[in-house]
Symmetry: D2
Subunit: 223 residues, 4 copies
Amino acid sequence: MKDTPIVILNFKTYLESTGERALELASICQDVADETGVNMAVAPQHMDLHRVSEAVEIQVLAQHIDPVDAGGHTGSVLAECARDSGADGTLINHSEKRMQLADIEWVVSRMRELEMMSVVCTNNVMTTAAAAALGPDFVAVEPPELIGSGIPVSKAEPEVITGSVDAVKKVNPEVSVLCGAGISTGDDMKAAVDLGAEGVLLASGIILADSPRDALLDLVSKV
Amino acid sequence: MKDTPIVILNFKTYLESTGERALELASICQDVADETGVNMAVAPQHMDLHRVSEAVEIQVLAQHIDPVDAGGHTGSVLAECARDSGADGTLINHSEKRMQLADIEWVVSRMRELEMMSVVCTNNVMTTAAAAALGPDFVAVEPPELIGSGIPVSKAEPEVITGSVDAVKKVNPEVSVLCGAGISTGDDMKAAVDLGAEGVLLASGIILADSPRDALLDLVSKV
Amino acid sequence: MKDTPIVILNFKTYLESTGERALELASICQDVADETGVNMAVAPQHMDLHRVSEAVEIQVLAQHIDPVDAGGHTGSVLAECARDSGADGTLINHSEKRMQLADIEWVVSRMRELEMMSVVCTNNVMTTAAAAALGPDFVAVEPPELIGSGIPVSKAEPEVITGSVDAVKKVNPEVSVLCGAGISTGDDMKAAVDLGAEGVLLASGIILADSPRDALLDLVSKV
Amino acid sequence: MKDTPIVILNFKTYLESTGERALELASICQDVADETGVNMAVAPQHMDLHRVSEAVEIQVLAQHIDPVDAGGHTGSVLAECARDSGADGTLINHSEKRMQLADIEWVVSRMRELEMMSVVCTNNVMTTAAAAALGPDFVAVEPPELIGSGIPVSKAEPEVITGSVDAVKKVNPEVSVLCGAGISTGDDMKAAVDLGAEGVLLASGIILADSPRDALLDLVSKV
């Protein structure tokens, strides 16, 4: 599960990664994983998750899971339903879906119980350290101002990555650090890995590329 | 679409209506609709929606749609994704997923643009009148204290139904009123229809019944 | 209470309207009300409200009240506490503090019970109609994209004002319509009143003016 | 500031601690601090904060501060306004006002910049460890199920206190651990301190007591 470096592609809610196009994109990720041997995972929208998980072998993550037990929670994403639908884990606390601290802890613990993968997103070194204390599989640090900017965190704010790696090592060395925000090229990813990251979380740089396949192949070309 | 009386079964996040069991339950609803001619719709969890919509002919509703356009909205439910997944419409503002007024308006308008059905849930006569002003297809009034109680609103608070019907007639007579909360038997539903409701929204009374099929057949037996 | 036209100055969280400067600004509003006879009200921050209410005779509104009864609600704004602190009413559902529909209804009803003034903010004609159905004293429509823009709604989107006035007349003619967003000059306010508004809700155009006193005198000079 | 053991009395939104009664209660806390030498702090409602801070010498905390800079944030609690109103610090993330992780970090950092005290509330050992990583002055752990229960955490779940103390020591030993939930007597407080807590956060056990003064005197009688 934690075969690193890992590339996690967050499909967000782009039309370019919705419905049939989600299936195509997931299939491209599968191909690139097969061709290059790099560990890849995809995080499609809730309603696309089941058919994506049926279509590919690589890991499929939910974009969010709600901190609720089965019962009367209309509109919520239930962990058991995610698992039944083929999810291998979930993103938690993405900057576009921020969660309360107590709820992050709840979902991380639930994922552990269900033997599913947890990737907690954070926005700076301090919140990365806090998230690491909860014991998820991964923490993915993304300075919000760089998300979707095309400016890679590994160049613009390398100290966020190294600071996160150091902080996590101190708080809970079993947690792996990923980074995101502005990552799209092989150079960006190599820089991230050189700074201590064990992978990347990315979205628009690949999804909106002229050729997502070429963009992915470039991304993983230097690691 | 507005063939009434309509029975909308909200699957919520019960394990009894998750995954394979969501498919079974939807199939039962299909059978009952076919056998009795009553218009039925189901609202499965997000991750179950696509396969449920592939399996049945009756209308399938999302439990919630977020007020967002396509783009960077990780974890949100995009209207276009719901439509691509086979949703014919959505519940909006369920008491377990309350929304801001501006967001309810956004989703009702978006459903209208996409020619999808909108069912706004409300909690009393005043909010029913407010919701009707937004012009959805249906308003479903459910006194929160009766939800999941087994005490039918049509008996415990008939004035909520008649008051809602009157208020909606005044504000926007094209909107149809449904009622929910505690409804489970044929007598409950008949009472609701007699009070002016054009259908019911229900959940646990059917989902947790020993035989959902028998419960549904009883529910629609007197209309 | 509903002596119109009314000018409501929302202090927001500007430093220019915090603490001692809130007192000064409220005092200026009092002076302008005294000099011109125009009905004015101020909405200071929660923590400034008590001393502002002690210092002026004009109406003082809370910026927000939470939908809670007395009890265990740490951090919430209790209606009774607002009243004890000297508030004559409250803004509800400001675009910077959007509320759920059910909660708006709760607070409007609570204000009615406590004989306090309610001003529900809305973002377009549809939500204005919905808010009017709840029976507040005022609905203040503010297209969000114009808030703080310096572009007056009365010029940029006059149809929002006339449409709101028409819609409210139909749903509940006892509700008065205010407008906001970009209003700062006498011409803006006159245009708003000519379009049917019974007053204005404004903030930065006055608070950040070189001379708030002069700006206010200009604002009310043509009505 | 961190003179321990400290007793923090959260006034919540009880009528018994609103308005004039907030002043009386704060004055009682002042008396008990003077008589016993125990460090006490009070956390009144936002609208009561300024007059309470004018009336007493002991520390006054806000119940909540919003993660916003000065500007357009109607209805929010601005850190600068709290400071100007006499607040010496704030509770953060109380179980009745849960916050997002990124926002907790923002407010803790802001309090540090303004040299104000920060008390982050948490619900279990894991979230306590996470909160400690953010470097607040205090973490106050309160199992939610015991809040307002009358069953003291120091008896019902002593391992939550010792586990929190151990976890915080590992993550950031400069942070002090308080505990809350169900604490009301001298025995409860002594047990908490014996387990490693440096003080208590409490509310209803004192506020709703027949004699808050006697209850407070009893509370601090054994430390």
